[in-house]
Symmetry: C2
Subunit: 522 residues, 2 copies
């Protein structure tokens, strides 16, 4: 494996890491964390200003004329007070009202992590990579597909903690099936807080679960602190087309009131729950996202929120979601333009795909998605590691490779380095025709940094590869995961805080009847 051939020495993100020399890496394979990406590469923006306005107009027409359903009494009453026209569950939103509300959303903000080194600016040029979540199965350290446990979830939180380009530990990367559903959210959030000192996500599976998340954040960060500092992210999906349900809206309000950001995420199955048109699908999702984003400002003016979406197109013969298709890339480019038009940070999904194993299909789907996402300028890049089988399983092997791919995309998106250009041009004169640069002083001083060297790709000859055991990437990545886990050191939680969290969980587990399980799930 290539990584073993690399000299161990001080690792830096070096010149391309903003000239910061990071702390000396521990002995071993772990590399230092990367700060939030600050993009310095032009984006792909396929729409003219007129086309952006055409989408905007169509979305506003939908909100005014078709209206949008909010299946939640509080929300309907809130919208009436805010001046919207409410007919039954359907709310017709005037474009003036929507634009006024959306204008009060912060265009950027900073997440606070329990380790301040992991604080993250978000919005504008700043982007972050977030692991996948929600998998009911995993492919484990032996590539076996099975139900996940709390220990498996902890393992993923540890791997996220140790992956340089993964900026969050997220929440339920896999569903811990060994714990009762009604109490599961408590264990999930605790695992995020305990095994990683990066920021995380919080469950929005019900308004009460969302309250537990916020209460635990209060314990970790302090009551007053979180009221003015984003520390956790929730996700609320739209039932596209044009319906927001009570569970999501209730959970959203809990986050809004605590001044914590939610992703307002239409769930696009292009051609099934949208028209069979990229442009019209974008207009619909834009209407859906804006309706929820506007509502966050009715609940708590000025609270942060993120323009979200899950994007796929469907295989028309079976209705199955696809990934890495040309239209998904185009929609990502377009949604990016819309979010920037409104000045709101936005979320997309990364590394999606439908492969059942970590085969070449998984590689094509993930890399295509990643490249489109980088060119779209997405800020909150969710599902960035591990996703496979349309989200049905999280693969440990793929998690490792995706995490490295994110680090490569990070490097690309930092753009071209010019500082040593004249020195390098002089080197061409030094070396001259027919020479080589391997021994040139500039090369010797810069070879670690100048070109990214992926550890999980094998570029050896077939003879060397065969001698090394003919390992395909799955095997190499699992070996890498095991090495990383062997090096894992828990980022210690303050003991009193840890105890308070465990007390909270114990109390809530006594209070919440296990029987409520199924009612809390969506």
């Amino acid at each position: 494996m290539n990584s073993t051939a690399m000299p161990q020495q001080e690792l830096t993100t070096g010149r391309r890491g903003g000239r910061r020399t990071l702390r000396k890496a521990r002995a071993g394979i772990r590399e230092p964390n990367l700060p939030a990406l600050k993009r310095n590469l032009p984006l792909v923006e396929p729409m003219s200003p007129e086309q952006i306005e055409r989408i905007d107009n169509a979305s506003m027409d939908i909100l005014e004329n078709v209206g949008i359903v909010f299946r939640d009494k509080i929300e309907l009453s809130d919208w009436k007070k805010a001046g919207a026209e409410v007919k039954g569950e359907r709310v017709h939103l005037d474009r003036g009202l929507v634009k006024e509300l959306v204008a009060s959303l912060p265009s950027d903000f900073t997440y606070t992590a329990r380790n301040p080194e992991n604080n993250l600016p978000l919005g504008g040029p700043h982007s972050i990579f977030v692991p996948m979540t929600g998998a009911p199965y995993l492919r484990d350290l032996e590539d076996k597909r099975r139900y996940p446990t709390l220990d498996d979830l902890a393992m993923f939180h540890k791997l996220a903690q140790m992956s340089p380009a993964l900026h969050l530990s997220a929440h339920h990367i896999v569903e811990p099936m060994d714990h009762v559903v009604a109490h599961r959210h408590l264990r999930i959030i605790y695992s995020s807080m305990k095994y990683s000192d990066k920021t995380f996500m919080g469950m929005t599976t019900s308004p009460k679960n969302a309250e537990d998340v916020i209460d635990m954040c209060r314990i970790l960060f302090g009551d007053e602190f979180i009221q003015s500092h984003p520390v956790v992210t929730g996700n609320c999906n739209c039932n596209s087309p044009l319906i927001w349900d009570e569970t999501m809206l209730g959970a959203m309000r809990v986050f809004n009131k605590a001044n914590q950001p939610v992703l307002c995420s239409p769930f696009v199955l292009g051609g099934a729950n949208t028209p069979a048109s990229t442009a019209a699908a974008v207009a619909q999702l834009n209407a859906e996202a804006l309706s929820a984003l506007a509502y966050t400002q009715v609940v708590n003016k000025g609270c942060p929120a993120i323009y979200g979406h899950y994007l796929s197109t469907v295989f028309m013969a079976s209705g199955a979601p696809m990934a890495g298709t040309p239209e998904i890339s185009l929609m990502n480019f377009m949604v990016g333009q819309m979010a920037r038009y409104y000045g709101i940070p936005w979320r997309t999904s990364n590394t999606l795909g439908g492969a059942k194993t970590f085969d070449a299909q998984a590689g094509y789907e993930s890399a295509t998605t990643l490249m489109a996402v980088m060119m779209s300028g997405a800020n909150y890049i969710w599902h960035s590691a591990g996703w496979n089988e349309a989200g049905m399983h999280c693969s440990v092997a793929k998690f490792m490779v995706d995490a490295e791919q994110c680090a490569m995309a990070y490097r690309m998106t930092q753009g071209i380095h010019w500082d040593d250009f004249d020195e390098c041009i002089a080197a061409i004169g030094d070396v001259g025709p027919g020479g080589h640069f391997l021994g040139h002083p500039h090369t010797l001083a810069n070879f670690q940094d100048a070109f990214f060297m992926p550890k999980l790709f094998d570029n050896n000859s077939i003879e060397q590869w065969t001698a090394d055991g003919s390992q395909e990437i799955t095997e190499r990545a699992l070996k890498h995961a095991k090495q990383l886990l062997a090096e894992y050191e828990e980022p210690k939680l303050d003991e009193a805080t840890d105890e308070a969290l465990l007390d909270y969980i114990a109390r809530r587990e006594r209070e919440i009847p296990a029987i409520e399980a199924l009612n809390n799930e969506h």
Copy 2:
């Protein structure tokens, strides 16, 4: 497999194919060919006009002050006559002279194929996909790695012929090891001409071999015709840094004199034969490419040529070439800007990678490269199908998947379709909140075309996939290749032409001693 679930009906490239309804596909899985891509998506252009000029200046400084070695007496004499300063084998090229010569290169031209439906405009917004070439091994229809034969080469020419987005049959996709080296070029070019009616490439393994290629093109197209119509492409690699050798230059001259385009291709192993800097590597390759491009105009003013390169960065621990790295993507974006600055069509490489099998590594490497290449605006997109193991083998399975990926990239790069936007927005009103679009008249009329449905990706449930035999993508792609080959129909060559070509080959095989074999190879 998904493809079997798709209804068989008239296939069209439809709206996105420029509203052309293509001829009815034959019964079976074959789809109609796509014309040359006309790009309609903005490019990623990371350099400012000042930075482009900085590269240009550095390249001109290199050509003037360091000079470039031409290991060829005719060329040295030509350059003297053209006014360059020649010291031994080293030529110092004044920037005025270089720019004047380069200005006479056509910015676009059209390839003629023996089937005029397959003629191809190249340059500006027009791009074409070309299969990989030069593999000394293949992974065959059973995924077995072995030496290729002439029959294997014919098989790849047939697959190229039947792949909608592959615009050329290329030349030695694999090296036919069962035929004597000295005569091989004759059999290779004949295979390209015989099994496909798309355009092709011609061997440049020696000046004499290049003459055979041109002679056979004269037989196929007519003496006079080819003097004013590009019908074949040659490739000439630079021995970077800054050396062009006699074999390449001699072959290049043969093509130039016959008015046939060559790719002037510096061979970049970033960090080994260039400085450890993306910007400086681009300046060096730009100098190298321009020196050869300028020479084509010394040989035959106004003849077409293509700004080429092979781009990789090296794994510094072993010197092995890497693929899909961030710096390769950045260099592609930059080279695109330079070629457009000079107004010359340009070539890049696609689907490169170092994986030994068709595993997820191969998928990530290929898709990353493809996406970067599409965003770079490359015109002649070589090595677009089959490449694996750093070019050491061509994989049949990967060839099929890459070809489909090119079709997907083609679709993406055609950009957003707006024609039915208002109709689709009206559909949102028709369907309303909570409905679905699958039965809407617009969906029924457009579901085949609106969203690309890759046949080689499996998006079924794991239960369906298991019932279908748990096939990974390699198995599915090989099955697809066998189905395509079963449907192959040879595009008949005019009998007299075919006989003349075979007579020419027979004569040349009598004339060329088999013993010369090794001298002709480079």
